[in-house]
Amino acid sequence: MSGYWAGILSILAINIIFAYGIFIPVASGQLNLGGAGFQAVGAYSAGWLSASFGLPVSVTIAFGIIVTGVIGVLIAFPILRTKGVYLVLATFAFAEVIAGAILSSEPLGGAMGISVPGYIDWYVSVIFAGLVTVFVFYLMATRFGLTIRAIHDDEDVSDLMGVSVRNVKVAAFGIGAALTGLSGGLYAHSFSYIEIQGFNALVSIYVLLYVLLGGTQTAWGPLVGATFFTLLPEALRSVLPATKNFLVTLFGETGIVAPPDESWRFVILGALTVLMMVFRPEGLVTRTMVERLQFWRPVSRGVTQ
């Protein structure tokens, strides 16, 4: 496989895991705009352990998952006391604090970043993405998944139904953080070099967009969202120059408008985001849509006493 495709598949797999890490708290109604911060914790935990002690990749990635998961649970308690836009700001602030701490930390390379030994091939991330996808689908089919979605719809009624709202929210946040940590560990070992500038606010915004535009009601949403938005810019990368050549041959260099070039990728991405927010505010994949696609399942009509 060419290096180009290996790189794309690695990024795709990592983005899917990353998106699932954001999806689980979002499915319970907790918007997380600090994704890059959690991912950085996972990446730097794994990277640092690998660079400093030369431990095997399986150990370093597991370490990254645990550290991120524990931090997720610890900050969930204070952070989940806030609601709505304040929760978004709190998660955002968390990511900034992490970035600041890493930037000023000598053992973590500061602004220079660190080289990470222990290279992993693209298929390792792809296998993990498959496992995580199965795990999240399973999780959403359990009673835990049911309570997550119930809390998303109505916290007060969930409480009256006997759901321990705070515990479920903390667990959702912690599991999400652990998955995000996994995506960070895989990133560090796939690209052999990490710098904190790579875990910036734009990264947090993008991953949240994958989830919101993909749809937060089912486990299909993040998968579709992350895949679509990871591959689309790549597709545009080759489509745009071709379009440009075509328009130039048609109208010449000085047409009505200048033919689109590479930089239009982000314009198209932005326009698409706005269009989707308008026409599919609940995301590409909704509950009703999955329900319609499934085969009709006969219902037991027996009346029990």
Partner: protein
Amino acid sequence: MSAHSPLLSLKDVSKGFFGLQVITDVSFDIAAGARMALIGPNGAGKTTIFNLISGVYTPDKGQINFAGQEISLVPSRKRIGLGLARSFQNIRLMPHLSVVENIMLGQQSQAGGLLSMATPLMGRSRWRREAEDLLARMNLETYPGEVVATLPYGIRKKIEVVRALASNPKLLMLDEPAAGLNPNETASLRDFLMGISEAGTTILIVEHDMGLVRSLCDQAIVLNFGRKIYDGLTRDVQEDPLVLEAYLGSRHAQENAHA
């Protein structure tokens, strides 16, 4: 709990919001197995009584005993597990969950424990089957997979009753379950509740449809301006001078307001 002590008992319960007294010294008992109506003009405090019993609000004063236990300080989340389940005047189903998922949420207090959280609820799960059976008993079996938000009002109203029942309650509290139902639906709701009552569940119902109240409940409590003004047989309620005054008075007030 002795054999004769009531299932639910309120003693001198009061509640106010920001200096506005909404419930004043309300006391009543509901015997196990009773079918009790809680009636009164709009704004009398009926829903607030439900909120106090289910733990949405804590009383400023007074005691609430349920099944032999003082519950005023029991967290709202734990009360459904004691056998207290309710529906809501404005439907509060989870709009993005399917019908059967809403019912399975109602089973939460029965499922219990950490382990239950990890069990899948798909296909042949015991919980899903029980939820589907419960729906079938209310002739709602055609709807399990539908997402609630898309269903008609009358159907959602019924599903709320089924969700409350899914917790296998000792006391079922329904807040205006027949509001917005047509006469056929109301009649079928009455038969359904009668069946639940005969199976041993105690019922407390807030309802404006006096036909339903008379045919379902033998006893009634009337509230007016947050005070109890009647507690006795349903059949005598409309002859009671205080009750007449409460309803006529409020009607006069309304007419004056419209004039």
